[in-house]
Amino acid sequence: MPSLKDLKIRIDSVKSTRKITKAMQMVAAAKLRKAQESAERGRPYAEKMRDIVSNLASSVKNIAGDNKFLGDGGDCKKFLLIVATAERGLCGGFNSSIVKLAKSRIAELTSQNKEVKILTIGKKGREQLNREFESLFIGHVNLSNEKNITIDTARKISMDIISRFEDGEYEVAEIFYNKFASVISQIPSSYRLLPVSFNEKESDASNLSFNFEPDEDEILNEIIPKSIATSIFSVLQENAASEQGSRMAAMDNATRNAGEMIDKLTIDFNRSRQAAITNELIEIISGAEAL
């Protein structure tokens, strides 16, 4: 049985922990709203970019252009996995769920005798992957100095990825991140960034014939790096929103657990205080009876 003083110290320490988790939860809620807003603002651009690329694609198919960025990634040997995680922990399973997905993909690819390379965005993913796959690393992007994600950051990352692609360091690039489904649900997801494949999308403009200026190939060379930057930008934004959502949920849980712990400890504290009082009374009474 811990002494009264020990219990008191523990209750105080859990109380201050609860204060911290509560504060973190509120900060995360505020940041989440901001992240969601900025993701919303970026959406029209991303949607329009997709439209234009698919319009472009339907025209390019007709002339069978052999652009280096296009392809279906069929029998490629060299894979680059881009793992986007957070810079900070204390956000539940956010980071490890992405890393888990990436690890299972690495295992799958290595069992097929493919060459795998890893590029991480965000410190937490690098720490977790570094333990097992240090030799596969070709790069890391540090986001700790970026308070808000800007398109310039995304452009820099995409320029790096594209120049590695052009140098033949890899043939297929896949990106791993957490998709923001709702505040309480984030889905670890991945998709192929490069080469770009055009799935047959029915667009109302597909039967229009466009004038291109300059020609299709040059526009593709210009637009694909842009669309990759946009994809990375929206991935980073989804990730940022997911991170805050996940942290909010984790901290809410922690706050509740701390509350329960305090209740339990308080009951223990009261019981042992009462026990001490009863004990003393018995001693006094039995002492008086002995006289």
């Binding site: 970026g42 651009y45 329009k48 930057a229």
Partner: protein, 131 residues
């Protein structure tokens, strides 16, 4: 009566402009061109320069853009820009900064990219004169 069409100028971080306009002058990659309503469908890339359009015949609005893509379909014109600054807010230093940035990259670039960057630099210097 003049015909209007819908114009939206969107940057990656926000919507810059949305509304009905009568015409828009675009600094296309191959040359400047004017879009009026019922323009044929087209997709073109944009070099750094000024976008000029008017909601009414009289007042013109100017935006400096640092490059992008324009799509015209059925009287809906969408301009995706890398970045846009309203004409009256443009500071010459911004363009000068862009030029020096291009200069830096020019010295680091290989020969293939050099042509592109050189062209870009000319466009920027042209825009600086107009500002």
């Amino acid at each position: 009566m003049t015909n209007k069409f819908e114009l939206s100028i969107i940057s990656a971080e926000s919507k810059v402009f949305e509304g009905k306009v009568e015409n828009i002058l675009v600094p296309g990659m191959v040359g400047d061109f004017l879009v009026l309503s019922n323009h044929a469908p087209c997709i073109s890339s944009i070099r750094p320069g000024f976008l000029e359009f008017s909601e009414e015949t009289s007042d013109k609005q100017r935006y400096f853009v640092s490059g992008g893509i324009i799509e015209v379909i059925n009287n809906v014109v969408s301009v995706l820009v890398d970045s846009a600054v309203a004409g009256d807010k443009i500071v010459k230093e911004d363009i000068t900064n862009l030029i020096s940035e291009v200069n830096d990259r020019l010295s680091a670039a290989d020969t293939i990219n050099k042509d592109d960057l050189g062209l870009r630099k000319n466009d920027l210097e042209e825009a600086l004169k107009q500002a």
